[in-house]
Amino acid sequence: MKKIKTLIVDDEKLAREVVSRYLSEYDEFEIAGECSNGFEAIKLINEIKPDLIFLDVQMPKITGFEMLELIDEPPAIIFTTAFDQYAIKAFEVNAIDYLLKPFSEERFKDALDKAKLSIGNKSDLRDKLNKLKETDREKGERLERVVVKHNNNILIISVDEINYIEAQDDYVMLHTARGNFLKQKTMKWFEKNLDPENFIRLHRSYITRLDAVKQLELFEKESYRAILKDGAKIPVSKSGYQKLKEIMNG
Protein backbone atom coordinates (compact mmCIF):
# COMPACT_ATOMS: atom_id res chain seq x y z
CA MET A 1 0.00 0.00 0.00
CA LYS A 2 1.46 3.32 -1.11
CA LYS A 3 1.45 5.98 1.56
CA ILE A 4 -0.36 9.27 1.06
CA LYS A 5 2.24 12.01 0.64
CA THR A 6 1.24 14.98 2.71
CA LEU A 7 2.57 18.52 2.75
CA ILE A 8 1.93 20.97 5.60
CA VAL A 9 1.93 24.65 4.69
CA ASP A 10 1.60 27.18 7.49
CA ASP A 11 3.68 30.17 8.51
CA GLU A 12 3.42 29.29 12.20
CA LYS A 13 5.66 26.52 13.41
CA LEU A 14 3.33 25.56 16.25
CA ALA A 15 0.41 25.27 13.87
CA ARG A 16 2.44 22.94 11.66
CA GLU A 17 3.37 20.90 14.73
CA VAL A 18 -0.27 20.21 15.61
CA VAL A 19 -0.94 18.84 12.14
CA SER A 20 2.19 16.70 12.05
CA ARG A 21 1.50 15.32 15.54
CA TYR A 22 -2.08 14.45 14.75
CA LEU A 23 -1.03 12.97 11.44
CA SER A 24 1.66 10.74 13.00
CA GLU A 25 -1.17 8.66 14.47
CA TYR A 26 -2.16 7.45 11.02
CA ASP A 27 0.05 4.94 9.27
CA GLU A 28 -1.33 5.46 5.80
CA PHE A 29 -0.12 9.09 5.71
CA GLU A 30 3.46 10.25 5.50
CA ILE A 31 4.70 13.82 5.90
CA ALA A 32 6.62 14.65 2.77
CA GLY A 33 7.48 18.20 3.78
CA GLU A 34 6.64 21.36 5.69
CA CYS A 35 6.71 24.92 4.39
CA SER A 36 6.31 28.27 6.10
CA ASN A 37 5.30 30.31 3.06
CA GLY A 38 3.69 29.99 -0.34
CA PHE A 39 6.85 30.45 -2.34
CA GLU A 40 8.56 27.48 -0.76
CA ALA A 41 5.36 25.49 -1.00
CA ILE A 42 4.97 25.95 -4.74
CA LYS A 43 8.55 24.83 -5.35
CA LEU A 44 8.08 21.80 -3.15
CA ILE A 45 4.71 20.88 -4.62
CA ASN A 46 6.15 20.81 -8.12
CA GLU A 47 9.07 18.76 -6.85
CA ILE A 48 7.44 16.09 -4.68
CA LYS A 49 3.89 16.14 -6.07
CA PRO A 50 2.08 15.51 -2.78
CA ASP A 51 -1.32 13.82 -2.68
CA LEU A 52 -2.62 15.99 0.14
CA ILE A 53 -1.87 19.52 1.35
CA PHE A 54 -2.82 21.12 4.62
CA LEU A 55 -2.93 24.74 3.63
CA ASP A 56 -3.15 27.82 5.82
CA VAL A 57 -5.03 30.63 4.11
CA GLN A 58 -3.35 33.62 5.72
CA MET A 59 0.33 33.53 4.98
CA PRO A 60 3.11 36.01 4.28
CA LYS A 61 3.96 37.01 0.72
CA ILE A 62 1.13 35.17 -0.93
CA THR A 63 -2.07 33.79 0.54
CA GLY A 64 -3.16 30.17 0.34
CA PHE A 65 -5.62 31.10 -2.37
CA GLU A 66 -3.05 32.91 -4.47
CA MET A 67 -0.79 29.91 -4.06
CA LEU A 68 -3.46 27.60 -5.44
CA GLU A 69 -3.70 29.65 -8.58
CA LEU A 70 -0.14 28.66 -9.41
CA ILE A 71 -0.58 24.91 -8.98
CA ASP A 72 -1.24 22.85 -12.09
CA GLU A 73 -1.51 19.32 -10.78
CA PRO A 74 -4.30 19.26 -8.26
CA PRO A 75 -3.62 17.56 -4.94
CA ALA A 76 -6.36 17.16 -2.35
CA ILE A 77 -6.46 20.27 -0.19
CA ILE A 78 -7.58 20.71 3.39
CA PHE A 79 -7.60 24.34 4.42
CA THR A 80 -6.74 25.50 7.89
CA THR A 81 -7.70 28.98 9.00
CA ALA A 82 -8.10 30.93 12.23
CA PHE A 83 -10.79 33.27 11.10
CA ASP A 84 -11.78 34.16 7.62
CA GLN A 85 -15.45 34.43 6.79
CA TYR A 86 -14.85 34.91 3.12
CA ALA A 87 -12.60 31.89 2.79
CA ILE A 88 -15.03 29.71 4.70
CA LYS A 89 -17.74 30.49 2.18
CA ALA A 90 -15.45 29.37 -0.61
CA PHE A 91 -14.51 26.14 1.18
CA GLU A 92 -18.03 25.07 1.85
CA VAL A 93 -18.61 24.66 -1.83
CA ASN A 94 -15.31 23.54 -3.23
CA ALA A 95 -12.80 22.39 -0.66
CA ILE A 96 -12.48 18.85 0.49
CA ASP A 97 -12.64 20.16 4.01
CA TYR A 98 -11.46 23.03 6.13
CA LEU A 99 -10.34 23.13 9.74
CA LEU A 100 -10.93 26.09 11.99
CA LYS A 101 -8.05 26.64 14.38
CA PRO A 102 -7.79 25.34 17.00
CA PHE A 103 -9.28 22.01 15.94
CA SER A 104 -9.81 18.76 17.79
CA GLU A 105 -8.42 15.37 16.86
CA GLU A 106 -11.90 14.07 16.01
CA ARG A 107 -12.46 16.92 13.61
CA PHE A 108 -9.05 16.29 12.11
CA LYS A 109 -9.89 12.63 11.57
CA ASP A 110 -13.08 13.58 9.72
CA ALA A 111 -11.08 15.75 7.37
CA LEU A 112 -8.64 12.92 6.72
CA ASP A 113 -11.50 10.53 5.95
CA LYS A 114 -12.90 12.97 3.43
CA ALA A 115 -9.46 13.41 1.89
CA LYS A 116 -8.98 9.66 1.55
CA LEU A 117 -12.19 9.45 -0.46
CA SER A 118 -11.12 12.19 -2.84
CA ILE A 119 -7.52 11.22 -3.43
CA GLY A 120 -7.27 9.28 -6.66
CA ASN A 121 -10.25 10.99 -8.23
CA LYS A 122 -8.16 13.37 -10.31
CA SER A 123 -10.93 14.84 -12.42
CA ASP A 124 -13.00 15.71 -9.37
CA LEU A 125 -9.97 17.30 -7.73
CA ARG A 126 -9.19 19.31 -10.84
CA ASP A 127 -12.79 20.44 -10.97
CA LYS A 128 -12.69 21.55 -7.37
CA LEU A 129 -9.38 23.32 -7.78
CA ASN A 130 -10.63 25.23 -10.80
CA LYS A 131 -13.74 26.28 -8.94
CA LEU A 132 -11.62 27.47 -6.02
CA LYS A 133 -9.49 29.46 -8.41
CA GLU A 134 -12.58 31.18 -9.70
CA THR A 135 -13.85 32.10 -6.26
CA ASP A 136 -15.08 35.66 -6.24
CA ARG A 137 -13.94 38.28 -3.82
CA GLU A 138 -16.23 39.21 -1.06
CA LYS A 139 -18.82 41.83 -1.97
CA GLY A 140 -17.26 45.27 -2.06
CA GLU A 141 -13.77 43.86 -1.90
CA ARG A 142 -11.73 44.51 -4.98
CA LEU A 143 -8.88 42.61 -6.52
CA GLU A 144 -5.66 44.41 -5.65
CA ARG A 145 -2.91 42.11 -6.85
CA VAL A 146 -2.35 39.09 -9.02
CA VAL A 147 0.32 36.43 -8.56
CA VAL A 148 1.86 34.98 -11.69
CA LYS A 149 4.51 32.43 -12.52
CA HIS A 150 7.31 33.66 -14.71
CA ASN A 151 10.33 31.50 -15.65
CA ASN A 152 10.02 29.55 -12.43
CA ASN A 153 9.77 32.76 -10.43
CA ILE A 154 6.66 33.98 -8.73
CA LEU A 155 5.79 37.62 -9.29
CA ILE A 156 3.23 39.66 -7.48
CA ILE A 157 1.66 42.22 -9.75
CA SER A 158 -0.36 45.11 -8.42
CA VAL A 159 -3.49 45.69 -10.52
CA ASP A 160 -2.31 49.27 -11.05
CA GLU A 161 0.46 47.87 -13.21
CA ILE A 162 -1.91 46.13 -15.59
CA ASN A 163 -2.44 48.12 -18.78
CA TYR A 164 -4.79 45.65 -20.36
CA ILE A 165 -5.93 42.06 -20.19
CA GLU A 166 -6.36 39.98 -23.29
CA ALA A 167 -8.27 36.72 -23.61
CA GLN A 168 -6.21 33.75 -24.89
CA ASP A 169 -8.17 30.49 -25.06
CA ASP A 170 -8.35 29.11 -21.53
CA TYR A 171 -5.98 31.77 -20.21
CA VAL A 172 -5.73 35.52 -20.09
CA MET A 173 -2.64 37.57 -20.87
CA LEU A 174 -1.85 40.40 -18.48
CA HIS A 175 0.00 43.19 -20.24
CA THR A 176 2.17 45.27 -17.91
CA ALA A 177 5.26 47.45 -18.22
CA ARG A 178 7.23 44.60 -16.60
CA GLY A 179 6.20 42.19 -19.32
CA ASN A 180 3.27 40.03 -20.31
CA PHE A 181 2.07 37.22 -18.09
CA LEU A 182 -0.29 34.35 -18.64
CA LYS A 183 -2.80 33.63 -15.93
CA GLN A 184 -5.26 30.82 -15.68
CA LYS A 185 -8.39 32.83 -15.03
CA THR A 186 -11.37 33.90 -17.10
CA MET A 187 -12.17 37.33 -18.47
CA LYS A 188 -15.46 37.10 -16.64
CA TRP A 189 -13.71 36.64 -13.33
CA PHE A 190 -11.47 39.63 -13.90
CA GLU A 191 -14.40 41.75 -14.99
CA LYS A 192 -16.26 40.84 -11.84
CA ASN A 193 -13.43 41.29 -9.38
CA LEU A 194 -11.56 44.32 -10.69
CA ASP A 195 -12.64 47.75 -9.53
CA PRO A 196 -15.10 49.01 -12.19
CA GLU A 197 -13.95 52.55 -11.41
CA ASN A 198 -10.52 51.76 -12.86
CA PHE A 199 -11.08 48.96 -15.35
CA ILE A 200 -13.43 48.65 -18.28
CA ARG A 201 -14.22 45.81 -20.63
CA LEU A 202 -13.94 47.43 -24.03
CA HIS A 203 -14.33 44.27 -26.01
CA ARG A 204 -15.21 40.61 -25.61
CA SER A 205 -11.51 39.81 -25.45
CA TYR A 206 -10.11 42.95 -23.79
CA ILE A 207 -10.25 44.65 -20.41
CA THR A 208 -8.37 47.93 -20.09
CA ARG A 209 -7.24 50.05 -17.21
CA LEU A 210 -8.88 53.41 -17.79
CA ASP A 211 -5.78 55.42 -16.90
CA ALA A 212 -3.79 53.56 -19.53
CA VAL A 213 -6.00 54.76 -22.39
CA LYS A 214 -4.55 57.70 -24.31
CA GLN A 215 -7.17 58.21 -27.01
CA LEU A 216 -9.86 56.65 -29.15
CA GLU A 217 -9.49 56.61 -32.86
CA LEU A 218 -11.90 55.82 -35.64
CA PHE A 219 -10.66 52.57 -37.14
CA GLU A 220 -12.91 51.71 -40.02
CA LYS A 221 -16.27 53.25 -40.43
CA GLU A 222 -18.39 52.62 -37.37
CA SER A 223 -15.64 50.94 -35.38
CA TYR A 224 -13.14 52.34 -32.93
CA ARG A 225 -9.79 51.46 -31.49
CA ALA A 226 -8.31 52.52 -28.18
CA ILE A 227 -4.72 53.72 -28.28
CA LEU A 228 -2.94 53.08 -24.99
CA LYS A 229 -0.10 55.12 -23.53
CA ASP A 230 2.27 52.23 -24.16
CA GLY A 231 1.34 52.25 -27.83
CA ALA A 232 -0.89 49.17 -27.81
CA LYS A 233 -3.98 49.33 -30.02
CA ILE A 234 -7.09 47.64 -28.73
CA PRO A 235 -10.34 46.99 -30.57
CA VAL A 236 -13.42 48.54 -29.02
CA SER A 237 -16.79 46.89 -29.45
CA LYS A 238 -20.05 48.80 -29.83
CA SER A 239 -21.05 48.18 -26.23
CA GLY A 240 -17.52 48.97 -25.09
CA TYR A 241 -17.74 52.28 -26.91
CA GLN A 242 -21.06 53.04 -25.23
CA LYS A 243 -19.57 52.27 -21.80
CA LEU A 244 -16.60 54.47 -22.49
CA LYS A 245 -18.82 57.32 -23.68
CA GLU A 246 -20.88 57.10 -20.49
CA ILE A 247 -17.73 57.35 -18.38
CA MET A 248 -16.39 60.27 -20.41
CA ASN A 249 -19.66 62.15 -20.09
CA GLY A 250 -20.43 61.03 -16.55
Binding site: E12, K13, V18, R21, F39, Q58, P60, P102, I156
Partner: protein, 350 residues
Amino acid sequence: MMINPFIKNKKLLLIYSLLWIFIAAAQSLILIFIVDAPFDYSIADGIVFNGLYSFLGLSFWYMVNFNSLDNYPAYKIILNHIASAAIITTFWLAASYFILSNIIDDPEYLTMLDESLIWRAIAGIMFYIIIIAVDYVIIYYNNFHDKVLKEAELRTLVKETELKSLKYQINPHFIFNSLNSVASLTLSDPEKAREMTIKLSSFLRGTLSRNENRTNSLKEELENSRLYLDIEKVRFGDKFDYVEECDEDCRGGEVPAMLLQPLFENAIKHGVYERVEKVTIKLKCKRENGFLKISLENNYDPEAVPRKGEGIGLKNIKNRLKLFYDNENLISTDKSDGIFRVNIYIPEKK
Protein backbone atom coordinates in the same frame (compact mmCIF):
# COMPACT_ATOMS: atom_id res chain seq x y z
CA MET B 1 -14.81 87.17 9.69
CA MET B 2 -18.32 86.62 8.45
CA ILE B 3 -20.11 88.62 5.77
CA ASN B 4 -22.41 91.25 7.17
CA PRO B 5 -25.65 89.35 7.80
CA PHE B 6 -27.75 92.47 7.13
CA ILE B 7 -26.41 92.46 3.59
CA LYS B 8 -26.19 88.70 3.02
CA ASN B 9 -29.56 87.78 4.47
CA LYS B 10 -32.46 89.28 2.48
CA LYS B 11 -34.94 88.82 5.29
CA LEU B 12 -32.80 90.64 7.81
CA LEU B 13 -32.16 93.46 5.37
CA LEU B 14 -35.91 93.84 4.82
CA ILE B 15 -36.64 93.97 8.55
CA TYR B 16 -33.80 96.44 9.06
CA SER B 17 -35.09 98.70 6.27
CA LEU B 18 -38.69 98.53 7.52
CA LEU B 19 -37.58 99.48 11.04
CA TRP B 20 -35.75 102.53 9.72
CA ILE B 21 -38.71 103.54 7.58
CA PHE B 22 -40.88 103.24 10.66
CA ILE B 23 -38.48 105.35 12.76
CA ALA B 24 -38.24 107.97 10.00
CA ALA B 25 -42.04 108.12 9.75
CA ALA B 26 -42.36 108.44 13.53
CA GLN B 27 -39.82 111.27 13.59
CA SER B 28 -41.61 113.09 10.77
CA LEU B 29 -44.98 112.72 12.55
CA ILE B 30 -43.53 114.08 15.81
CA LEU B 31 -42.18 117.09 13.97
CA ILE B 32 -45.51 117.67 12.20
CA PHE B 33 -47.88 117.20 15.11
CA ILE B 34 -45.85 118.11 18.19
CA VAL B 35 -43.29 120.62 16.99
CA ASP B 36 -45.68 122.04 14.34
CA ALA B 37 -43.00 122.03 11.64
CA PRO B 38 -44.16 122.27 8.01
CA PHE B 39 -45.07 118.94 6.39
CA ASP B 40 -42.41 118.78 3.66
CA TYR B 41 -39.59 119.89 6.02
CA SER B 42 -40.57 117.22 8.52
CA ILE B 43 -40.54 114.49 5.88
CA ALA B 44 -37.11 115.64 4.61
CA ASP B 45 -35.82 115.77 8.18
CA GLY B 46 -36.94 112.22 8.89
CA ILE B 47 -35.54 110.84 5.64
CA VAL B 48 -32.14 112.55 5.81
CA PHE B 49 -31.37 111.79 9.44
CA ASN B 50 -32.58 108.22 9.46
CA GLY B 51 -31.56 107.34 5.93
CA LEU B 52 -28.02 108.37 6.73
CA TYR B 53 -27.99 106.45 9.98
CA SER B 54 -29.37 103.32 8.39
CA PHE B 55 -26.31 103.24 6.10
CA LEU B 56 -23.91 104.02 8.91
CA GLY B 57 -25.53 101.29 10.99
CA LEU B 58 -24.59 98.66 8.40
CA SER B 59 -20.91 99.44 8.94
CA PHE B 60 -21.11 98.77 12.68
CA TRP B 61 -20.98 95.05 11.92
CA TYR B 62 -17.32 95.31 10.91
CA MET B 63 -16.48 97.26 14.01
CA VAL B 64 -18.16 94.71 16.22
CA ASN B 65 -16.30 91.88 14.50
CA PHE B 66 -13.06 93.71 14.95
CA ASN B 67 -13.81 94.39 18.61
CA SER B 68 -14.38 90.78 19.60
CA LEU B 69 -13.42 89.46 23.00
CA ASP B 70 -10.84 87.23 21.32
CA ASN B 71 -8.80 90.25 20.26
CA TYR B 72 -9.18 92.68 23.16
CA PRO B 73 -9.91 92.76 26.86
CA ALA B 74 -13.42 93.95 27.81
CA TYR B 75 -12.44 97.44 29.04
CA LYS B 76 -10.65 98.14 25.77
CA ILE B 77 -13.72 97.10 23.79
CA ILE B 78 -15.93 99.43 25.83
CA LEU B 79 -13.50 102.32 25.33
CA ASN B 80 -13.36 101.61 21.59
CA HIS B 81 -17.13 101.65 21.36
CA ILE B 82 -17.46 104.88 23.36
CA ALA B 83 -14.97 106.53 21.04
CA SER B 84 -16.60 105.25 17.88
CA ALA B 85 -20.11 106.12 19.16
CA ALA B 86 -18.94 109.70 19.73
CA ILE B 87 -17.24 109.96 16.34
CA ILE B 88 -20.12 108.41 14.43
CA THR B 89 -22.80 110.44 16.17
CA THR B 90 -20.85 113.69 15.57
CA PHE B 91 -20.29 112.84 11.93
CA TRP B 92 -23.91 111.84 11.49
CA LEU B 93 -25.25 115.05 13.03
CA ALA B 94 -22.83 117.22 11.06
CA ALA B 95 -23.60 115.53 7.74
CA SER B 96 -27.38 115.57 8.23
CA TYR B 97 -27.26 119.18 9.40
CA PHE B 98 -25.17 120.14 6.39
CA ILE B 99 -27.58 118.50 3.94
CA LEU B 100 -30.73 119.86 5.52
CA SER B 101 -29.40 123.39 5.94
CA ASN B 102 -28.50 123.35 2.24
CA ILE B 103 -31.93 122.23 1.02
CA ILE B 104 -34.08 124.13 3.56
CA ASP B 105 -33.54 127.84 4.20
CA ASP B 106 -36.33 128.46 6.66
CA PRO B 107 -34.85 130.23 9.75
CA GLU B 108 -37.60 128.89 11.99
CA TYR B 109 -36.88 125.28 11.03
CA LEU B 110 -33.12 125.79 11.33
CA THR B 111 -33.51 127.19 14.87
CA MET B 112 -35.57 124.11 15.74
CA LEU B 113 -32.82 121.96 14.24
CA ASP B 114 -30.13 123.71 16.31
CA GLU B 115 -32.13 123.36 19.51
CA SER B 116 -32.96 119.70 18.97
CA LEU B 117 -29.38 118.64 18.27
CA ILE B 118 -28.83 117.41 21.84
CA TRP B 119 -31.88 115.15 21.60
CA ARG B 120 -30.78 113.92 18.27
CA ALA B 121 -27.32 113.16 19.69
CA ILE B 122 -28.91 111.09 22.43
CA ALA B 123 -30.99 109.26 19.81
CA GLY B 124 -27.84 108.63 17.75
CA ILE B 125 -26.05 107.07 20.72
CA MET B 126 -29.14 104.99 21.50
CA PHE B 127 -29.26 103.74 17.92
CA TYR B 128 -25.56 102.90 18.19
CA ILE B 129 -26.05 100.87 21.35
CA ILE B 130 -29.06 98.98 19.96
CA ILE B 131 -27.39 98.11 16.66
CA ILE B 132 -24.14 96.85 18.17
CA ALA B 133 -26.10 94.88 20.74
CA VAL B 134 -27.99 93.16 17.93
CA ASP B 135 -24.71 92.55 16.07
CA TYR B 136 -23.16 90.95 19.13
CA VAL B 137 -26.20 88.72 19.56
CA ILE B 138 -25.93 87.61 15.94
CA ILE B 139 -22.23 86.81 16.32
CA TYR B 140 -22.89 84.97 19.54
CA TYR B 141 -25.70 83.00 17.97
CA ASN B 142 -23.57 82.10 14.94
CA ASN B 143 -20.68 80.97 17.09
CA PHE B 144 -23.03 78.96 19.23
CA HIS B 145 -24.49 77.36 16.13
CA ASP B 146 -21.04 76.51 14.83
CA LYS B 147 -20.12 75.08 18.16
CA VAL B 148 -23.18 72.85 18.20
CA LEU B 149 -22.32 71.63 14.71
CA LYS B 150 -18.74 71.01 15.69
CA GLU B 151 -19.79 69.10 18.75
CA ALA B 152 -22.10 66.93 16.68
CA GLU B 153 -19.19 66.24 14.35
CA LEU B 154 -16.95 65.36 17.25
CA ARG B 155 -19.57 63.03 18.63
CA THR B 156 -19.73 61.17 15.33
CA LEU B 157 -15.98 60.98 15.30
CA VAL B 158 -15.98 59.54 18.80
CA LYS B 159 -18.52 56.93 17.78
CA GLU B 160 -16.57 55.95 14.70
CA THR B 161 -13.34 55.73 16.59
CA GLU B 162 -14.95 53.69 19.29
CA LEU B 163 -16.37 51.29 16.77
CA LYS B 164 -13.06 50.89 15.08
CA SER B 165 -11.25 50.37 18.32
CA LEU B 166 -13.79 47.76 19.28
CA LYS B 167 -12.69 45.94 16.20
CA TYR B 168 -9.17 46.32 17.44
CA GLN B 169 -10.08 45.13 20.86
CA ILE B 170 -11.04 41.76 19.60
CA ASN B 171 -8.95 40.83 16.65
CA PRO B 172 -10.36 37.35 15.98
CA HIS B 173 -7.42 36.34 13.89
CA PHE B 174 -4.99 36.99 16.66
CA ILE B 175 -7.13 35.26 19.27
CA PHE B 176 -7.77 32.06 17.34
CA ASN B 177 -4.22 31.78 16.12
CA SER B 178 -2.97 32.25 19.67
CA LEU B 179 -5.37 29.63 20.95
CA ASN B 180 -4.12 27.32 18.26
CA SER B 181 -0.55 27.92 19.43
CA VAL B 182 -1.64 27.10 22.97
CA ALA B 183 -3.30 23.91 21.74
CA SER B 184 -0.11 22.98 19.98
CA LEU B 185 2.04 23.73 23.01
CA THR B 186 -0.10 21.51 25.21
CA LEU B 187 1.24 18.63 23.13
CA SER B 188 4.87 19.67 22.99
CA ASP B 189 5.55 21.93 25.97
CA PRO B 190 2.79 22.11 28.60
CA GLU B 191 4.85 24.51 30.73
CA LYS B 192 5.02 26.98 27.87
CA ALA B 193 1.36 26.43 27.05
CA ARG B 194 0.39 27.49 30.54
CA GLU B 195 2.64 30.53 30.33
CA MET B 196 1.06 31.55 27.06
CA THR B 197 -2.47 31.03 28.33
CA ILE B 198 -1.70 33.35 31.24
CA LYS B 199 -0.16 35.95 28.96
CA LEU B 200 -3.07 35.78 26.58
CA SER B 201 -5.53 36.17 29.45
CA SER B 202 -3.67 39.15 30.90
CA PHE B 203 -3.50 40.78 27.54
CA LEU B 204 -7.19 40.22 26.79
CA ARG B 205 -8.14 41.52 30.22
CA GLY B 206 -6.12 44.64 29.63
CA THR B 207 -7.75 45.13 26.26
CA LEU B 208 -11.31 44.49 27.36
CA SER B 209 -11.13 46.77 30.38
CA ARG B 210 -9.87 49.66 28.34
CA ASN B 211 -11.79 52.86 28.33
CA GLU B 212 -11.81 55.26 25.41
CA ASN B 213 -11.35 58.32 27.56
CA ARG B 214 -8.76 57.03 29.95
CA THR B 215 -5.07 57.57 29.88
CA ASN B 216 -2.42 55.22 31.17
CA SER B 217 1.19 55.70 32.00
CA LEU B 218 3.49 54.82 29.14
CA LYS B 219 5.00 52.19 31.40
CA GLU B 220 1.67 50.34 31.73
CA GLU B 221 0.96 50.63 28.03
CA LEU B 222 4.34 49.21 27.14
CA GLU B 223 3.86 46.35 29.58
CA ASN B 224 0.60 45.41 27.91
CA SER B 225 2.14 45.65 24.47
CA ARG B 226 5.01 43.48 25.61
CA LEU B 227 2.50 40.80 26.58
CA TYR B 228 1.13 41.01 23.08
CA LEU B 229 4.60 40.82 21.56
CA ASP B 230 5.49 37.84 23.75
CA ILE B 231 2.44 36.01 22.48
CA GLU B 232 3.29 36.85 18.88
CA LYS B 233 6.84 35.72 19.50
CA VAL B 234 5.59 32.31 20.50
CA ARG B 235 3.53 32.21 17.32
CA PHE B 236 6.24 33.40 14.97
CA GLY B 237 9.22 31.84 16.67
CA ASP B 238 12.29 33.91 16.17
CA LYS B 239 11.02 35.94 13.30
CA PHE B 240 11.39 39.25 15.08
CA ASP B 241 13.28 41.05 17.82
CA TYR B 242 11.85 43.79 19.95
CA VAL B 243 14.09 46.61 21.15
CA GLU B 244 13.01 49.36 23.51
CA GLU B 245 14.99 52.59 23.71
CA CYS B 246 12.98 54.57 26.18
CA ASP B 247 14.37 57.48 28.22
CA GLU B 248 13.65 56.81 31.87
CA ASP B 249 11.89 60.14 32.39
CA CYS B 250 9.30 59.19 29.72
CA ARG B 251 7.88 56.15 31.43
CA GLY B 252 5.65 58.17 33.71
CA GLY B 253 4.16 60.12 30.80
CA GLU B 254 0.41 59.73 30.26
CA VAL B 255 -0.82 58.38 26.93
CA PRO B 256 -4.34 57.46 25.78
CA ALA B 257 -5.12 53.87 26.76
CA MET B 258 -4.33 51.25 24.11
CA LEU B 259 -3.07 53.87 21.71
CA LEU B 260 0.12 51.99 20.91
CA GLN B 261 -1.43 48.56 20.51
CA PRO B 262 -2.54 49.04 16.90
CA LEU B 263 0.96 50.28 16.06
CA PHE B 264 2.50 47.07 17.30
CA GLU B 265 -0.14 45.10 15.43
CA ASN B 266 0.73 47.01 12.28
CA ALA B 267 4.42 46.31 12.74
CA ILE B 268 3.71 42.61 13.17
CA LYS B 269 1.20 42.46 10.34
CA HIS B 270 3.11 44.42 7.73
CA GLY B 271 6.62 43.80 8.95
CA VAL B 272 6.84 40.34 10.43
CA TYR B 273 3.91 38.79 8.66
CA GLU B 274 4.88 39.79 5.15
CA ARG B 275 8.53 38.93 5.56
CA VAL B 276 10.27 35.67 5.49
CA GLU B 277 13.43 37.22 6.99
CA LYS B 278 13.92 38.46 10.52
CA VAL B 279 12.42 41.79 11.52
CA THR B 280 13.48 44.24 14.22
CA ILE B 281 10.75 46.23 15.90
CA LYS B 282 12.16 49.21 17.72
CA LEU B 283 10.38 51.55 20.08
CA LYS B 284 11.98 54.85 21.03
CA CYS B 285 10.64 57.49 23.35
CA LYS B 286 12.11 60.77 24.37
CA ARG B 287 11.00 64.20 25.47
CA GLU B 288 11.10 66.83 22.76
CA ASN B 289 9.99 70.49 23.09
CA GLY B 290 6.99 69.92 25.29
CA PHE B 291 6.04 66.64 23.65
CA LEU B 292 6.53 63.03 24.49
CA LYS B 293 7.80 61.64 21.20
CA ILE B 294 7.14 57.95 20.69
CA SER B 295 8.50 56.29 17.55
CA LEU B 296 7.94 52.73 16.47
CA GLU B 297 9.91 51.37 13.56
CA ASN B 298 10.19 48.08 11.78
CA ASN B 299 11.98 46.97 8.66
CA TYR B 300 9.66 45.82 5.94
CA ASP B 301 9.87 44.30 2.51
CA PRO B 302 9.78 47.16 0.00
CA GLU B 303 8.94 44.60 -2.68
CA ALA B 304 5.79 43.44 -0.96
CA VAL B 305 2.65 44.49 -2.76
CA PRO B 306 0.42 45.86 -0.02
CA ARG B 307 -2.82 44.16 0.78
CA LYS B 308 -5.90 45.88 1.99
CA GLY B 309 -6.27 47.21 5.49
CA GLU B 310 -3.32 49.56 5.42
CA GLY B 311 -3.90 52.91 6.96
CA ILE B 312 -7.05 52.08 8.90
CA GLY B 313 -5.13 51.60 12.10
CA LEU B 314 -3.19 54.80 11.62
CA LYS B 315 -6.30 56.78 10.83
CA ASN B 316 -7.90 55.46 13.95
CA ILE B 317 -4.94 56.59 16.03
CA LYS B 318 -5.04 60.00 14.40
CA ASN B 319 -8.72 60.33 15.29
CA ARG B 320 -8.13 59.33 18.86
CA LEU B 321 -5.29 61.81 19.24
CA LYS B 322 -7.53 64.49 17.78
CA LEU B 323 -10.22 63.69 20.32
CA PHE B 324 -7.78 63.75 23.18
CA TYR B 325 -5.68 66.76 22.32
CA ASP B 326 -7.72 68.63 19.70
CA ASN B 327 -4.80 68.57 17.32
CA GLU B 328 -4.63 66.81 13.96
CA ASN B 329 -0.89 66.79 13.54
CA LEU B 330 0.28 64.48 16.29
CA ILE B 331 1.14 61.52 14.10
CA SER B 332 3.52 61.19 11.18
CA THR B 333 4.98 58.31 9.22
CA ASP B 334 8.00 57.90 7.02
CA LYS B 335 9.52 55.14 4.96
CA SER B 336 13.19 55.02 4.13
CA ASP B 337 15.67 52.27 3.26
CA GLY B 338 13.19 49.54 4.02
CA ILE B 339 12.34 50.96 7.44
CA PHE B 340 8.83 52.08 8.23
CA ARG B 341 8.50 54.54 11.10
CA VAL B 342 5.51 55.99 12.91
CA ASN B 343 6.02 58.99 15.17
CA ILE B 344 3.48 60.01 17.75
CA TYR B 345 3.67 63.24 19.70
CA ILE B 346 1.87 63.40 23.02
CA PRO B 347 1.57 66.93 24.42
CA GLU B 348 2.98 67.08 27.93
CA LYS B 349 0.72 68.36 30.67
CA LYS B 350 1.65 71.90 31.64
